[in-house]
Amino acid sequence: MAEYFMPDLNSPSNSNSFMRRKEGLTIPLSIAVTIVLLSLTIGAMADTVVSRAELKLCASLATPHLKLSCYESIAAIKPDEPNPSSDIADPGTTSSSVDDFGDEHLDQTDREPKSVVATVTDVRRESGFNGVLYFHLSNGQVWRQATPGYFFFPRDQNTGFDVKISRGVMGDYQLRVDGSGPMTRIKRVK
C-alpha cells in the first residue's frame, strides 16, 4: 500500500492540487498515465525524509488502518522533490509550464497523489432519499457521488469520520470510509 503519499491536508495548495492532474490531458494520455502510474510511483519511492508535521498528522488519524496508510504514504516522498504540490501549480502561472509543454508523455513522474485521507464533517443529500450524497470535508472540499447509490457511513456525524479518496484506473475518484469500507465513486464539486 506504499504507492501513494500523504499530502498535507491543511495546505490549501495541496488539497487543491488533487484533481488537477487531468487538466490538459488527452484521451490516450489519460489511459497511458493510468497504466504506468503504479510502476512509476513505486520507482519514485527510493530515499525518503519524513517531517515531524507529517508524522503528527498521521498520528492524529482515527483508525489504525488510516494511520498505517498515512505513515506508509509519507515514507514514499522523495527527498529531492521539494513539494509535490508546487510542481502541479496552475500551469498557466508558472514558468515550469513552458518547460513542461508537450512533455506529458515524457514526464513519467506522478504529479498527483494516488490517494488522500480526509475527514468528512458533513454529509448532505441532494433531494429526497434518492439524491446523490455530498461529502463536505474538513479542508473545505466538497465531493458528490457520481451517481445515486447506497452508501453506508458512520451514523454519528458530529465528530466526523475519516475517509480515503483514491484514484481509480480510469481517472475516477473513489471514496472509502476509514479507507477500508466499500467504495462509492465521487466527483469533486468544490
Binding site: I27, N130, P148, S166
Partner: protein, 940 residues
C-alpha cells in the same frame, strides 16, 4: 418523472439537503434543458440499483417490472422473431410505444410484428450500459412524433460514468445462460467516453424440458396423447389411385386412407382421442423438434463520447453494434405444392410398394398390404398410390435440425451542441441505424424434385426405410430399403431469408430561456426532424416461387421506404417553485398524409410535499412501410370446405388443416392511427416517502387492421351455406390443383378503435431498521376499461381481464404490479420482490379462466472491499420465482362455457384440451420456473 428509484441513507441519518450541481439534462417528454430531474410527466422509472437488485441479466427482464408495460411478447415459439422483444406500454401494440435511447430514436427491428407494425428490439442493448429506464406513460407525439402513443420508453445510459467494471452472471433453470460485461468510462476537461460490452450465451430448451408443457400439451409423456401430432405424418398414409392424363395420381373416389403398415415401427404415432376419421392416420410427433427457447449467443458493444472544442461547441456521439446468433430447432419439413392431388404419386412398380388393389367393396381402402415377406412378382401387381406424408420426421431427431438466424444491429449517432447568444443551445445530430435478419434453414423440399426421386424408385417413402433398413426389395432384388444420402440430396435444399430495415434521422433543436419576469420563467424549444425509413425483404427464391414448404409463396419480396419531415415547438413556463406549464406541438408530414399533434401538461404544488399534475394531448402511429405495401406470413387454417370425393368442394366438417400463406395487402389510403389521451394525478413526496397516483385515459381510433384473419376469410365462404352445398366464391382464397388452400388474402384498413383507462400507483418508502436501511417500493397498474370496437358488426369487446387474442391486442389483466423490499447494512444487501399478474380469460376459447400469477424473487449480495487490489468485488446470489410457479395454463372452454378437461364427458382423452403454447407469451410471466443465479462485479 416520479422515480420509484432511490438510494438509502445510512441508519440514523437525517439528511440535510444540498443544492444541485448536476449538469443540465433533458427529461423524457421534453426538448428543453433543465437542471431538475423531476419533470412534469407521469411515468415509471427503473434505475440501475433496482435492476441489479432484481437479478436481471437481460434487458427483457426489465419489462415485467414496469407495470404500465403489458403485452410485450417475450416468447416466440417456432417464430422468426425468436430472440427479440419490445416495449408495449398500455398494451396498445408493439408499434405504439416509442423506444428511445438517451432521448433519440433507435432503428427498428428487421422484422415487423406480423401485422406490419415495427418495433425496437430491446435485446440489442447491453444491460451494463443502462443507468435507468424511464417510461413516459402517456402519449408524446407532440414531442417525438409517430409511435409515441401508449408511451415512450427512454433508455438512459450511464454516460459520464468513470471507472472500470467487469461483471458477469450465470443463471440456471430449464436452460442455462451466462453473461460477461464490461463497463468503462473516463472524463477529462474537454470530454469523456464510455464503453460497455456484453457477451451473452443461452442454451436452448425444448418443449419437454418444461414439465408443465409435457403435462399440458404432450399427454404427460404419452406421445399418442400429445397435441403435437401432425396429420402429415412420416411415414404417412396411402390412398388407392389411378394415373390421370398427366401421369399423376388421382384418388379413386370413395376409398379411404391406408396408414403405413410400419407406422409405429418407423417412428410414427397413432393418436388417442381424435375424431374417428383421423384415428387411422399415421402421425408424426414434432413436439420436441421446436425450440421453446432457442440457443442464443450475443456480442454487443455500445460506446458514447463527447468532446468540447470550446466553451461554446461540444461534439458528441454514440456507436453500437449488436450481433445475436440464434440456433432454433425446426421440424421435419413438408413437401408441398404437389403436382398430384393433395400428395405425391407412388407407382405400382415402386420397389417398396407392397400394396395391391382389392376389388372387395367391403374393403374401405380398396387396398391389401402384402408386405415384403409374402411378395411374389408372379402373383402380385403393385397398386398406384397417392401418398401423403413428410420425407423425414422422427429420424431427424429432437432439436437436432437447426435453423441458423443472425440478427445484427448497427447504430451511429453524431451531433454537436452549440451555445448560442442568450443562453440558447443548438443541438444538431444525425443518427443512422440498420438492422438485418438473415436465416439459413436446412431442408426445403421442392415437390417436383421429391416426386422425381420417389417415382424413379431411388427414394423409399414407406416405413420400411426405418423399420427394416437393410431389406432388399423382393420386387427388383437390388434396391435397399434405407434411403441413401444421394437420394436425399437430390431434393433437399437449404432455405434462406433476409430482411433489413434502415433508419436515418436528422435532428435540429434549439432551446433556451425566453424571458424571466419576477417569478415567472419562460423557456422554449423549436426543432425540425427528417426521418427516412427503409425496409427490404429478400425471401428465399424457392419459397417465393411457391416451390417450398409455404405453399402460397410466403415472404414476398418487398422494398419500400418512407420519408418524414417534422417541425415542432415547445414552451415551458415555471411559476416559481409552485407550478409548471408545458405546451408542445408537432407537425409531421409523410408525403401522402400529415398530422399535427398538440400536448399540454401542468404541475401545481399544493403544499411542499403534494403536487397535482395532468396532461392532455394527441398522438399517432403512422402506417408502416409494410402496411402501405404488403405483408405475408405463414399461418395454419382449417378449410371450411371439403372435397366431395369427386373433386368438387362442398361445405361441411372435416376440412383439411394446413399451413397457408396469408398475404395482407397494403393500402395507400391508410390514415395514421390516432389517439387522444389525458392524465391527471398527484405526487406526494416527503424526505423518506413518495407516492403517486395517476389516472390515464386513451381513445385510440383509426386502428390499422390486417382485415379478417386468415381463418375468418376461410370461414366466410361457408357462412350460412348448408353442409353439402358449394361454398361461396371468394377472390381472397387461392387453391391449388387439388382444391387445397395455398393463399389467403386480406387488406389493411383503418377500422376500429380502442378506449382504455386506468390508474398507475406507485409508492416508495425508506426507513431505518437497526443499523441498516430498508427500502420498500411498490407499483401497480389497474386497467379499468379496454374497450375494443372493431366496427365490423361484432359487439364492443371488453378487453380488461382478457387475453385479447381475437382482436389483435394483448393480454390485459385488471391488475399488475410489483412490490419489493431491499435491506442494506454496510456491505450486505438482501432483496425480496413479488410480482403479480391478475387472472384473466382466454377469449380465443370461450373465455376460459387463466389463473393469476405470483412470483417471488430473492437476492443476497455482498461487497468485498479491496478483495482483489484496489477495487471492490460484489457477489450476488439469487433465486427468481422462488416458489417455482408455472406460468398459468392457457385453458380452453367448450362452446357452452364449460371447461375442457383432459378427458371429455364421454371419458375420451381430449388431446387439445389446452391451448398451444400451453402458456400465454404476452402476459408478462416468466416461463423458466425457478431460476438460480450467481453474479459478480469487480470494480477497478
Amino acid at each position: 418523472m416520479v422515480g420509484m428509484s432511490f438510494t438509502n441513507l445510512a441508519a440514523g441519518q437525517e439528511e440535510s439537503s444540498e443544492p444541485s450541481t448536476l449538469d443540465e439534462i433533458v427529461v423524457t417528454g421534453s426538448h428543453i434543458r433543465r437542471t431538475e430531474y423531476e419533470g412534469l410527466a407521469s411515468g415509471q422509472t427503473l434505475d440501475r440499483s433496482q435492476i441489479d437488485d432484481s437479478g436481471a441479466d437481460r434487458l427483457v427482464d426489465v419489462l415485467d417490472d414496469i407495470s404500465s408495460n403489458i403485452g410485450s411478447q417475450k416468447y416466440f415459439e417456432g417464430d422468426n422473431r425468436q430472440g427479440m422483444t419490445q416495449f408495449n406500454v398500455r398494451g396498445l401494440g408493439a408499434g405504439s410505444t416509442l423506444t428511445l435511447l438517451n432521448g433519440k430514436r433507435v432503428g427498428n427491428a428487421p422484422l415487423d410484428n406480423g401485422a406490419g407494425a415495427y418495433f425496437v428490439d430491446i435485446n440489442q442493448f447491453p444491460l451494463a450500459m443502462v443507468e435507468r429506464v424511464e417510461v413516459l406513460t402517456n402519449g408524446a407525439s407532440a414531442t417525438y412524433g409517430s409511435q409515441a402513443v401508449g408511451g415512450v420508453a427512454n433508455i438512459i445510459t450511464r454516460k459520464g460514468f468513470e471507472g472500470f467494471e467487469l461483471s458477469g452472471g450465470y443463471t440456471t433453470s430449464e436452460f442455462d445462460a451466462y453473461n460477461l460485461n464490461i463497463a468503462m468510462g473516463s472524463q477529462f476537461d474537454q470530454g469523456g467516453f464510455n464503453v460497455y460490452a456484453t457477451y451473452y450465451n443461452q442454451d436452448n430448451a425444448e418443449r419437454s424440458d418444461f414439465d408443465f408443457i409435457v403435462d399440458r400439451l404432450q399427454g404427460q409423456g404419452d406421445p399418442s396423447r400429445s397435441q403435437f401430432l401432425s396429420t402429415t405424418g412420416t411415414p404417412g398414409v396411402y390412398t388407392r389411385a389411378t394415373l390421370d392424363a398427366n401421369n399423376l395420381a388421382v384418388v379413386v373416389p370413395g376409398l379411404s386412407e391406408f396408414p403405413d403398415p410400419d407406422c409405429e415401427a418407423a417412428g410414427g404415432v397413432f393418436p388417442e382421442g381424435d375424431s374417428a376419421a383421423n384415428l387411422d392416420r399415421c402421425r408424426f410427433d414434432f413436439g420436441d423438434q421446436v425450440s421453446t427457447i432457442p440457443k442464443e449467443e450475443r456480442h454487443q458493444i455500445f460506446a458514447e463520447w463527447d468532446w468540447r472544442f470550446s466553451d461554446k461547441l461540444k461534439y458528441y456521439g454514440e456507436a453500437s453494434f449488436s450481433n445475436n446468433v440464434i440456433e432454433r430447432s425446426i421440424v421435419g419439413q413438408f413437401v408441398s405444392n404437389y403436382s398430384a392431388a393433395g400428395g405425391f404419386t407412388i407407382d405400382g412398380d415402386h420397389p417398396f410398394n407392397f400394396f395391391i388393389e382389392d376389388a372387395d367393396p367391403a374393403n374401405p381402402t380398396g387396398l391389401i398390404y402384402i408386405g415384403p415377406e409374402n411378395w411374389d412378382n408372379s402373383i402380385h401387381t403393385g397398386a398406384t398410390l397417392l401418398a401423403r406424408g413428410r420425407p423425414l420426421g422422427a429420424q431427424l431427431g429432437d432439436g437436432d435440425e437447426l435453423s441458423h438466424v443472425e440478427i445484427d444491429y448497427v447504430r451511429a449517432l453524431n451531433g454537436i451542441e452549440l451555445e448560442l447568444p442568450g443562453s440558447w443551445y443548438l443541438d444538431a445530430s444525425y443518427m443512422w441505424a440498420k438492422s438485418t435478419f438473415s436465416r439459413l434453414s436446412p431442408h426445403l423440399y421442392p415437390a417436383t424434385s421429391f416426386e422425381a426421386v420417389v417415382r424413379s424408385g431411388d427414394w423409399n417413402p414407406f416405413g420400411t426405410r426405418v423399420s427394416d433398413p437393410t431389406m432388399i426389395s423382393p420386387k427388383d432384388g437390388t434396391s435397399i430399403a434405407a434411403n441413401s444420402d444421394g437420394a436425399y440430396a437430390a431434393f433437399d435444399q437449404p432455405n434462406g431469408h433476409n430482411q433489413r430495415t434502415e433508419l436515418k434521422v436528422v435532428d435540429l433543436i434549439a432551446s433556451g430561456d425566453l424571458f424571466e419576469t419576477g417569478s415567472v420563467t419562460l423557456a422554449g424549444a423549436v426543432g425540425a426532424q427528417y426521418r427516412e425509413e427503409d425496409v427490404v425483404v429478400v425471401p428465399d427464391a424457392l419459397q417465393a416461387a411457391g416451390l417450398g414448404v409455404t405453399r402460397g409463396g410466403a415472404g414476398s419480396a418487398l422494398s419500400g421506404g418512407q420519408d418524414v419531415v417534422a417541425a415542432y415547438g415547445e414552451v415551458l413556463a415555471l411559476f416559481g417553485d409552485i407550478a409548471e406549464l408545458q405546451v408542445a406541438v408537432r407537425y409531421e408530414d409523410f408525403g401522402d398524409l400529415d398530422t399535427t399533434d398538440p400536448k399540454i401538461s401542468a404541475q401545481i404544488g399544493a403544499t411542499e410535499s403534494l403536487s397535482f399534475r395532468g396532461s392532455w394531448g394527441t398522438s399517432f402511429q403512422a402506417p408502416s412501410v409494410n402496411q402501405t405495401a404488403s405483408v405475408s406470413s405463414l399461418i395454419g387454417v382449417t378449410d371450411s370446405a371439403v372435397d366431395d370425393g369427386s373433386g368438387n368442394l362442398i361445405c361441411g366438417p372435416g376440412g383439411d388443416s394446413r399451413s397457408v400463406t396469408q398475404v395482407i395487402e397494403g393500402s395507400a389510403n391508410l390514415k395514421p392511427q390516432s389517439s387522444d389521451n389525458y392524465t391527471v394525478g398527484f405526487i406526494f413526496q416527503t424526505g423518506r416517502f413518495s407516492a403517486s397516483i395517476d389516472y390515464w385515459n386513451f381513445d385510440y381510433t383509426d386502428l390499422i387492421n390486417p382485415g379478417l384473419t386468415a381463418q375468418a376469410v376461410v370461414d366466410s365462404i361457408c357462412a350460412g351455406v348448408p353442409d353439402g352445398q358449394a361454398p361461396l366464391p371468394s377472390e381472397d382464397i387461392s387453391r391449388d390443383g387439388t382444391g387445397g388452400i395455398v393463399r389467403v388474402a386480406s387488406t389493411f384498413n383503418n377500422v376500429g378503435s380502442v378506449k382504455t383507462d386506468g390508474v398507475d400507483i406507485s409508492a416508495a418508502y425508506n426507513m431505518d431498521v437497526g443499523r441498516g436501511s430498508l427500502t420498500l417500493d411498490f407499483f401497480a397498474t389497474y386497467a379499468n376499461e379496454f374497450e375494443v370496437d372493431r366496427q365490423n358488426g361484432s359487439p364492443v369487446f371488453d378487453g380488461v381481464g382478457s387475453r385479447n387474442q381475437t382482436n389483435g391486442f394483448s393480454t390485459m389483466p385488471e391488475w399488475r404490479g410489483r412490490f419489493g423490499g431491499t435491506y442494506r447494512l454496510g456491505e450486505h444487501a438482501a432483496n425480496l420482490t413479488a410480482r403479480y399478474v391478475d387472472g384473466y380469460t382466454n377469449d380465443q376459447d370461450f373465455d376460459a379462466e387463466v389463473d393469476s400469477w405470483v412470483s417471488l424473487d430473492a437476492q443476497y449480495s455482498i461487497v468485498l472491499p479491496q478483495l482483489l487490489g484496489d477495487g471492490d468485488t460484489s457477489i450476488s446470489l439469487g433465486i427468481s420465482n422462488l416458489l417455482d410457479e408455472d406460468p398459468p395454463a392457457l385453458r380452453r372452454n367448450n362452446a357452452d362455457g364449460t371447461l375442457r378437461t383432459r378427458f371429455d364427458a364421454a371419458g375420451n382423452y381430449d388431446r387439445a384440451f389446452m391451448r398451444r403454447d400451453g402458456y400465454d407469451n404476452r402476459s408478462g410471466v416468466d416461463i423458466r420456473g425457478r431460476v438460480f443465479y450467481a453474479g459478480f462485479k469487480q470494480s477497478f
